[in-house]
């Protein structure tokens, strides 16, 4: 029989340290829903999602009951809608409405994939879809959008970067009455991955099977608690502790993913080795860094501590799972992490330090709230900087920045729920307008002679 202390450890992790499965995401290909008639295409989209995901939520709930482990989000990701918009003339917002109807019918929390891959240039449908995002993300509540504007192999599409600054601002304005929430559902990527289970940037890549289950795990509270138990440990021991803890967390994700896939009769894809925080007390990535020995997240040393944490999470997780993918690494969303919010409010964490941190961990500038009067070229330049970090370091980098319309630095924009509340961060106001206005492409970087 399993020994008592192991049993109690698992129960403590779940009950007291917020261990949960953050997302079980069903990826669904919509390539067979392409039609020249947008109405027919939308009908096929709705029908395919409603059919494929009809048991998704129920199955996840059964697994929650059986294993006693909470599954916070049940989601669906789909083929980038720009592929369908390319064939069908008409307003792409109709696709967003079809996705919303499918989300309502299946009971999933979010549907991701209203987006386009434009890292080298725009093809048919891409431009119209991106232009439609402010409307699509404001008339729907459960639809998430993404745009991939760069990659290590293709470089950065600066025309797309310029456009996304405008689109983010317009999306925030279109949802100004709802905490600018539209912008929180929109992610701009460099090196986007095809099997990401996390919103808002999830989409189902063209290299994926017709239908697949991907799992994102969580557990910052568990890691912090493990670090807390070794107050005198040196950094090697800390790394070892994090690895062991990450192994346990990921094993649970692997179990849930394979069980869900088996019950639904579809292939299991990947486990995303993630440390995803929530605004709840004790579920913060920033607090792990502080537990390692920083007075506040953002202090000098934060980047090094985060690099250690991120690497240890991957090393522990990779052995626990048969297939690893997605964004894999520690997330540092500002508004969704109580410790990050505190650090910004205390003046310890600036946008520049946050950018440096994104060079060594998963994703990028996530859930960062900026003043509503920041001009579009500045937002574009924030995207360009982050994309450059992703491009040069051969990693996924993303920007999910929310302009808080009508708010100034130091005020709070409250989203509620898992999205939390973000303090409006200060932004460097010197203008990058000429740089952004040039357009064109940043050539793909050299990947040898690395300095």
């Amino acid at each position: 029989m399993i020994n008592n202390s192991d049993i109690l450890e698992t129960i403590k992790m779940i009950r007291q340290e917020h261990l949960d499965i953050r997302a079980v995401t069903m990826g669904i290909s919509l390539l067979d829903c392409v039609d020249a008639d947008i109405g027919k295409s939308c009908g096929k989209v709705y029908e395919k999602i409603a059919r494929s995901a009809r048991n998704h939520v129920k199955t996840c709930e059964e697994i929650e009951n059986r294993y006693g482990i909470p599954i916070i989000n049940k989601r669906v990701s789909v083929t980038p809608i720009a592929f369908l918009a390319a064939a069908a003339a008409g307003n792409p917002v109709k696709f967003a409405e079809a996705l919303q109807r499918a989300a309502d019918a299946t009971g999933v929390n979010y549907v991701g994939g209203y987006g386009a891959l434009v890292h080298k240039g725009f093809s048919a449908g891409d431009g119209a879809l991106i232009e439609s995002m402010p409307e699509a993300l404001s008339v729907t509540s459960k639809v998430c959008g993404f745009v991939n504007i760069g990659s290590t192999r293709a470089g950065i599409n600066m025309d797309a970067v310029a456009l996304m600054g405008e689109v983010i601002l317009k999306t925030a304005r279109a949802t100004a009455g709802n905490s600018c929430f539209g912008a929180a559902k929109l992610v701009v990527f460099c090196n986007a991955v095809e099997d990401n289970p996390f919103m808002a940037g999830a989409f189902h890549g063209t290299g994926e099977p017709d239908c697949v289950i991907n799992v994102g795990v969580s557990g910052p509270g568990v890691v912090r608690s493990a670090v807390q138990k070794s107050p005198g440990a040196d950094i090697s021991e800390i790394a070892e502790t994090i690895k062991r803890t990450a192994f346990k967390i990921t094993r649970m994700g692997q179990l849930v993913g394979t069980e869900a896939a088996k019950a639904l009769g579809i292939p299991f894809g990947i486990v995303d080795l993630s440390l995803a925080p929530t605004p709840a007390a004790g579920d913060s990535v920033a607090h792990i860094l502080e537990e390692i020995g920083l007075e506040k997240c953002g202090a000098h040393g934060t980047t090094a501590a985060l690099a250690l944490l991120n690497d240890a999470v991957k090393k522990g997780g990779v052995m626990a799972s048969s297939h690893v993918g997605g964004l894999s690494g520690a997330f540092i969303p500002v508004s969704e992490d109580a410790g990050m919010i505190d650090a910004v409010t205390a003046g310890a964490l600036s946008l520049e330090k946050l950018e440096a941190m994104t060079a060594v961990c998963s994703v990028g500038l996530d859930m960062v709230v900026v003043p509503g009067d920041v001009p579009a070229p500045v937002i574009s330049a924030i995207i360009a900087d982050e994309a450059a970090i992703g491009m040069v370091n051969n990693k996924t980098a993303a920007v999910r920045v929310v302009p808080a319309i009508g708010k100034k630095e130091g005020e709070i924009l409250d989203f509620g729920g898992l999205f939390g509340s973000g303090p409006v961060m200060g932004v460097n106001r010197f203008s990058p307008e000429k740089f952004i206005g040039r357009g064109g492409r940043i050539p793909a970087p050299l990947t040898s002679v690395r300095n």
Binding site: M1, I2, D6, I7, T10, I11, R66, G68, Q254, L255
Partner: protein, 89 residues
């Protein structure tokens, strides 16, 4: 299918009797069990075969939790695979 039933709380007379009574009425066979008292905290874990249970898993879990509430005990019922996967390589 085998489940791990965990009971924690203040030690009292009749805990085991009441919990095994709930198991018996659901046709759940207790295969193994351990119990200790750590600093006044009663900790018991049971491995139970629930494949012939006459109630669904969520109902069994609810019945046991309800039984626990009456005695101010916390009871969790979880499939054994979660512990096997987390603690065994």
């Amino acid at each position: 299918m085998r489940a791990v039933i965990t009971v924690t709380g203040k030690d009292a007379v009749g805990i085991l009797a009441k919990i095994t009574a709930v198991c018996a009425s659901a046709n759940v066979n207790v295969i193994d069990m351990t119990q200790t008292v750590m600093q006044d905290l009663f900790v018991m874990s049971m491995l139970a075969d629930i494949s012939k249970s006459n109630v669904e898993f969520p109902a069994l879990s609810d019945n046991l939790k309800e039984c626990g509430r009456e005695m101010a005990l916390e009871i969790h019922v979880m499939h054994e695979d979660i512990f096997n996967s987390m603690h065994r390589i």
